[in-house]
Symmetry: C2
Subunit: 346 residues, 2 copies
């Protein structure tokens, strides 16, 4: 038993298909009120639900907006997703979701699927990678996006342009001042800290991570500090944990105080957890800062110093929302880097 159609409604109301269409779905020309009422009544009785597929086919605009994330359960992405969702609601569209774990080839597949569904626009939220093993994938992704844009699609990318994507019409990137903010963070941290700095970063070639590393190093340099050592690991909590385990010994065996910059909050949490499991306490034995200011992590103790990013706004912007201010962030120094409190219990 299929849903009732417009022509059934028209038949019941005793009018033509065209008239029914004009009444029920928006049209510039309004039929007479009495006949309109009849149509509405018929539609209601039949429980008519317009077929969006058919509508989309007829007017080639689907009312869909595609969102590509690495992992929807990652709080960074779900915050962005909320923004995209909100923008979509304002635009009377619906959000199509795709998770790809960050593999460019999967992203290409997702773009193709969105294109197949004739999504009006596509948002790509995951960090770009320029690692050599992703080279081919990026190329294919760029080609797919290019085609999509040429066919009238709109693309919003968070952070960095797709490697190799022509700056086509309808393609825009939401700039996130990762480097500047990381530099500011470094500058503010050098104030109260006189030991070594160390960076726990994601794999080289992950642009967001690279930007933050570069910015932090620049900030250190500008404050007259030596370059920080960089540890490469996974761009997630597990990566942070591994790095933390590796660092624990070193911290315990050294008298110089270490200040760790993890390039995102979940990594910082991972580092902290590992250190704690080895008996190293923050901020007593070392200090640490993250990046993103993930909402769910704000009650974490010791409170994590970090850089607040307006993730929801970023999502809105990427989804093409006009009345959202450009991205800016602020450094949030909290207890995890508060050397003065080193002797108090956490």
């Amino acid at each position: 038993m299929a849903a009732s159609t417009l022509s059934e409604v028209a038949r019941v109301a005793g009018v033509s298909l065209a008239t029914a269409s004009r009444v029920l779905n928006g049209s510039s020309r309004k039929p007479a009120e009495d006949i309109a009422e009849r149509v509405r009544k018929a539609a209601d009785e039949l429980g008519y639900v317009p077929n969006a597929q058919a509508q989309a086919l007829a007017k080639s605009s689907s009312g869909l907006i595609g969102l590509i994330v690495h992992d929807i359960a990652d709080p960074y992405f779900s915050a962005i997703a909320r923004g995209v969702q909100d923008a979509a609601r304002r635009q009377n569209r619906m959000v199509l979701l795709a998770s790809t774990s960050g593999a460019p080839l999967d992203e290409k597949e997702a773009v193709a699927a969105f294109a197949a569904r004739r999504a009006d626009s596509i948002v790509i939220a995951g960090s770009r990678s320029v690692r050599s093993e992703d080279r081919q994938g990026n190329g294919e992704l760029a080609a797919e996006l290019d085609r999509y844009c040429r066919n009238g699609g709109h693309v919003g990318v968070v952070g960095h342009p797709i490697e190799g994507a022509a700056t086509a019409e309808g393609y825009h990137v939401v700039e996130v001042p990762n480097e500047e903010l990381a530099a500011t963070l470094a500058a503010e941290l050098t104030g109260g800290h006189d030991g070594d700095f160390l960076i726990v970063a994601g794999p080289e070639g992950l642009l967001t991570s690279d930007d933050r590393v570069r910015g932090f190093q620049r900030g250190l340099a500008e404050s007259g500090c030596p370059e920080a050592e960089v540890i490469r690991t996974g761009f997630n909590r597990a990566g942070g944990y591994d790095a933390g385990l590796a660092l624990a010994h070193r911290i315990k065996g050294s008298k110089r105080r270490l200040c760790i910059f993890a390039v995102n909050d979940v990594m910082a949490i991972g580092v902290t957890a590992a250190l704690r499991s080895e008996g190293v306490w923050i901020p007593r034995d070392a200090t640490i800062a993250g990046f993103d200011d993930i909402e769910t992590l704000r009650d974490f103790r010791p409170a994590l110093s970090t850089v607040r990013l307006p993730l929801e706004d970023i999502g809105r912007l990427a989804a093409g929302d006009e009345n959202t201010a450009p991205v800016s962030g602020d450094v949030k120094l909290r207890r995890s880097t508060d050397v003065a409190s080193e002797n108090q219990p956490a």
Copy 2:
């Protein structure tokens, strides 16, 4: 400039539309290999992307699965969303997302929108409410779902059936043993605790909250403990925080030890944060347990006692995934209820 169509591909390849269709999109009957190759080549040159809308229209199956959550940025929902997403991928479908803040009327709108898009199935993840102000909304939602099911749609609801929904074909609810698990939690907590119990719950009529309250009380009763006082507040972190502020005085002014059960983890975190801001320490001055075992909160200290729920599996089940085991959970007693450690620093 629109995307190229199947008939263009057919023309370039010098074959009929039907043949092109058979080659490019799955069909039981396979054309000859040489002709197939020609078609594929033509499609590739033209950058052909099948129009999923048209396909859906023709075979009346959209390959879409609709997901309704209160808030995608809430870790509880994003975990379920990951499961749904995963199931969708296995089924070769895409996920359509809708956020509704839990208002039944919004949920009804979302269901209608999904029905309009001819989603193959719909997952409703948010807790059901039977509050009187939601009565009408629930009724309309039930009617909308009913119609959707009658038209061949599948519906998966997490936790509780929609109030007033006929047990139609294609309608199934993923049972979550909230009550039993809460009872078990209570039983395990009574072991090491000799003070009062108190429950921080969501608004009355929110079924998930009500179940957990009822189960916990039952567990207490079965262990010979008196009924716990219940504080009603918002079903989120802010609600927990408010409750925590209200409780701080009482805890400080009483010599009897208080064990708090917050009906979900984020509320527990809120309570803990508020208590801490008032100088009340967990587990030194009081103990607390939550529910859900949210992944992002596992590194929280003191580690939160809670009930682990397989949220991802719940999502998979609701999305109709066959090879996922039924929902079960376990009590996780951690430091937040560890009275023995009351004197050590958190």
